[in-house]
Amino acid sequence: MLRDITIGQYYPAKSVIHRLDPRVKLFATLIFIVSMFLFKTFVGYIVAGIALITVIKMSKVPFKFIVKGLKTIWMLLCFTLIFNVILTDGTILFEWKFIKISIEGIRNAIFMGFRLFFLIIGSSLMTLTTTPNQLTDGMETGLRGLKKIKIPVHEMAMMMSIALRFIPILMEETDKIMKAQSARGADFEEGKLMERIRALVPIFVPLFISAFRRANDLAMAMEARCYRGDNNRTRMNPLKYKKEDGLAYLSLVLYVAILIVADRTLGPIAESPITKLSTSLSAMVHIFNCL
């Protein structure tokens, strides 16, 4: 169950997206996230969606695999949807006690849901196509300037890459400890809140001990392999921009431009039938209510 989490996991494949410089991917992800807040109409969603689908296709990561990673944040997605539905004012479609569902609310929820969905898929696509080492390389090189103001960029990058390497291992371990404690009659599903919290002690204590033991072992192994920070350190794959990276940057600019232009020009036109529809719908609701 815990092993199914794919966020932060690398999916090995041979694709253009995999080959891109991690700095490009980091930057592109950032821009993609920002771009989610640059449009207002559903044309924007279509543009962003097409862009995302294109990149997914190019990455050769099966869509199913990406979506599987969403399982864990399904709850978050549902919450967002529900809150949006409930908390948006507008023409009321349905009312029960304090819960009011409006047309605008449903619209907002759908849009917000898509926005979140895009965000998560976009960023998991980065981790799926970039090995943690490349990712940290990208951060390290991309943020190298910060070293001058005494920010330990290398150390942070190293910590991140180690964390990513050990997350799946610790997940599996958690799974195993839970099973083992269940085998001793531990119950994680029943009882009051306090009891449930207390029930976690037999999981977390062994997990922490194991994490510390692993950290200790790893530190020793790294020392044995002559690790001494980034002093005099070379790289097997130093980052170098290639032609396709330039193209990627170009497409990124193009994407943002198309997004904004399409949203501003086509957006209102395409929107009008929908607005009309919802106005007539709310009129109908009004009439219905009056009756």
Binding site: Y10, I162, E223, R225
Partner: protein
């Protein structure tokens, strides 16, 4: 290659309040000589001091007393620490906890990267190291997708890429299944034979040391037996007193001898046994 004289290591054991409970002498006057190109095995139960030696050779622990030279370098010389670690690479027991990177080849590159080896040369070394441990086809895999034996061979490749003269392995097979154990031991013998790398194998599995050039048995921080596998394995009772096993064929030969059948000492293989026993008639 490795030369130790009166080597000792002590550490202080403290209770919860930090009071000294006692001093533990993990190593106690060890003299050790490992010749270049040798395959030497150190046997002993947990707490016999065998792991402490490995850590001293790698300059992770500093000797309390005595001297220790690795390829002529004094391990206590703080300035030469990196040189020592590069000369005598160390492989640990838990395969998961010594792999740093999430892709096999990136992990193998970790050592050379730390040593400041130029990029082209790193690629060559990674190719070479993966080739030697027969893991080339897994170079782009995640370590999590490998079996225990494969992970351990990746760890060996990681050391190999630093171009060591000697590899010290601290119970590299303890957490593996029988298949994985065989893979690792076979790899070590190949490295020893084809690449001329000195191997110091620390283990508690007796079957793994049959083909070593020299076997050293440790107990209580001291060397208690040493010699060729044949010499050591002919002393079955002594080995058992040190809480060690002997291969079944050796034990059977020993038991039969006690029962009055005339067999030579230290039989290590089935062939030797069959020949000797059938020669009786």
């Amino acid at each position: 290659m490795i030369k130790a004289r009166k080597l000792a290591y002590e550490y202080i054991r403290r209770d919860e309040e930090g009071n000294v409970e006692g001093i533990i002498r993990a190593l106690d006057g060890v003299d050790l000589d490992v010749k270049r190109g040798d395959f030497v095995a150190i046997l002993g139960h947990n707490g016999s001091g065998k792991s402490t030696i490995a850590k001293e050779i790698n300059a992770i622990l500093e000797p309390t007393e005595g001297t220790l030279y690795v390829d002529g370098i004094d391990v206590s010389n703080g300035e030469k620490v990196w040189e020592v670690r590069q000369t005598a690479g160390l492989v640990f027991q838990n395969p998961d906890n010594q792999i740093v990177a999430s892709v096999v080849e990136e992990d193998v590159a970790f050592g050379p990267e730390n040593l400041g080896v130029p990029t082209d040369e790193i690629h060559k070394r990674v190719d070479y190291a993966l080739e030697r441990v027969e893991m080339t086809s897994y170079r782009k895999s995640s370590p999590n997708a490998l079996s225990g034996g494969q992970k351990q061979r990746v760890a060996i490749a990681g050391i190999l890429a630093m171009k060591p003269k000697c590899i010290v392995l601290d119970e590299p097979t303890a957490m593996l299944d029988p298949g994985g154990r065989k893979e690792v031991i076979r790899t070590l013998h190949e490295l020893n034979k084809n690449e001329g790398i000195t191997i110091l194998l620390i283990t508690h599995y007796m079957t793994e040391v049959k083909d070593a050039d020299k076997v050293i048995v440790m107990d209580d921080g001291k060397i208690v037996m040493q010699g060729t596998p044949k010499q050591v394995f002919s002393r079955v009772d002594e080995l058992k007193a040190h809480h060690l096993d002997v291969p079944q064929v050796t034990e059977l030969a020993y038991e039969l001898k006690k029962g009055g059948i005339n067999l030579p000492d230290g039989i290590l293989t089935n062939k030797e046994f069959v020949d000797a026993l059938l020669g009786q008639r």
